[in-house]
Amino acid sequence: MGTELFEILRKNKEKVLQLWLQAQQTETEFSNNFNTADELRAQSAEFVDLLLSTIDESNIQDFSPPGLESLTDYISSLTISRARQGFSPRETATYIFTLKDALLQVLSEQAGTDPMQLYKASMQLSKFVDNIGILSFETFITGREDVISQQSDEMAELSTPVIRVWNGILAMPIIGTLDSARTQVVMENLLQGIVDTGSSIAILDISGVPAVDSLVAQHLIKTVNATRLMGAECIISGIRPEIAQTVVHLGIDLSQMITKATLESALKFAFNSLQLEVRRIQKDKAN
């Protein structure tokens, strides 16, 4: 695409913007999302400005060289802000692709009559705008993935409560998969809980953990060891029969740890070691 064509586009910036805004109005129902048409116009004008000042002979062929940062950054932030404003991915994509129509129309009106030249220029220009679309799509997905990972962090935080079941006894039920990140949260919460409450026994209930593989076992061993370093005892409860068999077949030695089948038996054990007793109240016969 020759330099003069870029010049033509730059000179007809207002025309491009005009056509683009028209196309946007016909293609979609934007009216609900943007507060005022002025706002949309200002944003579109900024986009056209930046695009036409950035695009040149070298970067129209290849969308990655240095010099495009300001444009790519702008597209990323535009996509994110549109997503936050509640635009659907389709609307944002249409927004970008209607710009292509506007650019091509201006080009065909102003760029002379050589069909081969016009064809080549159109192809390059449309590829460039396609790349902008792809970038916007990628940004959109990355934004969503950030939200997902943020939510899973929150879930890990929420799903590992430390419960004080008795004076000196903490319990921590674990539901779901115990991966490395989760173990970190579990361990931190448990150790902090031991300090905060001055407890000497912690019960880690794994009834809700679907499978205990060697990594989970390793995490459990580490947690127990860390608890012992704090001067407290850690009991692992909720070992289901199938888990017990699997762990034995795997060849993992958990015999150094206190393990119980149910939370109830773990609690009994804890009461015993604290020399507590739970009894049914005997009614006085005299009454």
Partner: protein, 140 residues
Amino acid sequence: MITLLMAMIRESLAIQHERDLVYCRNRVKEVAVKMGMGIVNQTKLITATSEIARNMLIYGGGGIVRLEVIIRGKQEGIQLVFEDKGPGIADIQKAMQDGFTTGRTLGMGLPGAKRLVNEFAIQSTLGQGTTVKILKWKNG
């Protein structure tokens, strides 16, 4: 009829992130439940899957799990093939020993997984990758 439907199950799962392991385990569990596999065998298979898939992720840089329902005579079972294009295992005999690890784990993954399933085959070429094939019968 149910058997015929089960035989249609043949799929590939990509393992690229830790969260893929969770999906892979859940999918294997779903198929095992559908087949009517007992809870103990289910847990054994899921645990073995978890071990090998994690190995593949950590040492092989991720790969693909091919899940297939196998029918041989009157037996039916689940076959899983784990393929990665990682650096490969230098000494398979050593890797299959209890407690051997090149990382900082317990070293029970591969040998443990072998004990949890009915059939276990491992193949590795240095610089080309590793393939592990396991099979667990419904009543095995």
